[in-house]
Amino acid sequence: SRYYPTEDKPRKLRSRKTAFSKHKHSLRSSITPGTVLILVAGRHKGKRVVFLKQLDSGLLLVTGPFHLNGCPLRRINQIYTIATKTKLDISGVKLPERLNDKYFNRKQLKKPRHTEGEIFDTKKEVYTVSDERKEDQVAVDKQILDVIRKNKEKKLLFGYLGSMFSLGSRQYPHKMVF
């Protein structure tokens, strides 16, 4: 005798796994918009950057500003940052609306396809900065540099954001205030 299921569509059992899009992303209370963060890992490690906002994926959107330390508009995970007590007032800064996770997703570069006659010398696609990135960088950085210029300690702030962080001897991070 054949097995006939009682339901037309078998129900899936409840899984305790939630999709990434439904995850709740927390943000350290020490990180607020305008906080200067020290990047501790990655390409820009040691740099002091300005935190702009947290994106939907939970990653932080930061900018160098690019002119000061070469760090562009970028996403980073908050676990690779040290939040300092230095905060800029970026309440008046308007970020372009297109800055979201999709904007920052890695672009798939075309892999060189070997056609019949050309085994070697097929050009690899190199990453180039798109014009919209350059536009947004300039737009955001202009506002942030204006905020710094209004600050009383602007000369030192410019120097601060342009310099790199390092630990000296007898400097223990767990005993330091950032």
């Binding site: 300092t84 007590k85 030192l156 205030v177 950032f178």
Partner: protein
């Protein structure tokens, strides 16, 4: 060895408590119990009247004029009248402690500003030093005998 170079344990000697729950506070030695312990009280610094081992007490240069066993209320009056806190704050010891505390609370930006300030100061010092160096007459450098090539 002159006796006056020592700080003595005596009634009225103000001590800095170096460890324990009251570490960092000032207290007066009100009475001596035995070879190891003193009766200590710090009404204005939050130290309740208690016995303390001398090991935990670091004697300061401040001595109060109080009778032995002075009660806390009158001790507080004497402390305020004899301006113990003011005398303590003017000592280099207290200033060093305060500086250490300040350094520990410096933020990353403060440390950067401190570094820049130190650089600016050192530049000034080096400029002056360079000027002084030029004024000093230097002895003529001794000519070395050229080594003759032996055949």
């Amino acid at each position: 060895m002159v006796l006056s170079q020592f700080r003595f344990v005596e009634v009225g000697r103000v001590a800095y408590i170096s460890y324990g729950p009251d570490a960092g506070k000032l207290a007066v030695i009100v009475d001596v119990i035995d070879q190891n312990r003193a009766l200590v009280d710090g009404p204005c610094s939050g130290v309740s009247r208690k016995q303390m081992n001398f090991k935990a007490l670091e004697l300061t240069s401040i001595v109060m004029k109080i009778p032995r066993g002075l009660r806390p209320g009158n001790l507080r009056k004497a402390w305020e009248k004899q301006e113990v806190q003011k005398k303590w704050d003017s000592t280099t010891w207290a200033q060093k402690i305060a500086n250490k505390k300040k350094r520990a609370q410096l933020t990353d930006f403060d440390r950067f500003k401190l570094m820049k300030a130190k650089q600016a100061r050192n530049r000034l010092i080096n400029v002056e030093f360079g000027k002084l160096r030029k004024t000093v007459k230097r002895p003529a450098p001794r000519l070395r005998k050229k080594k003759s090539v032996k055949k």
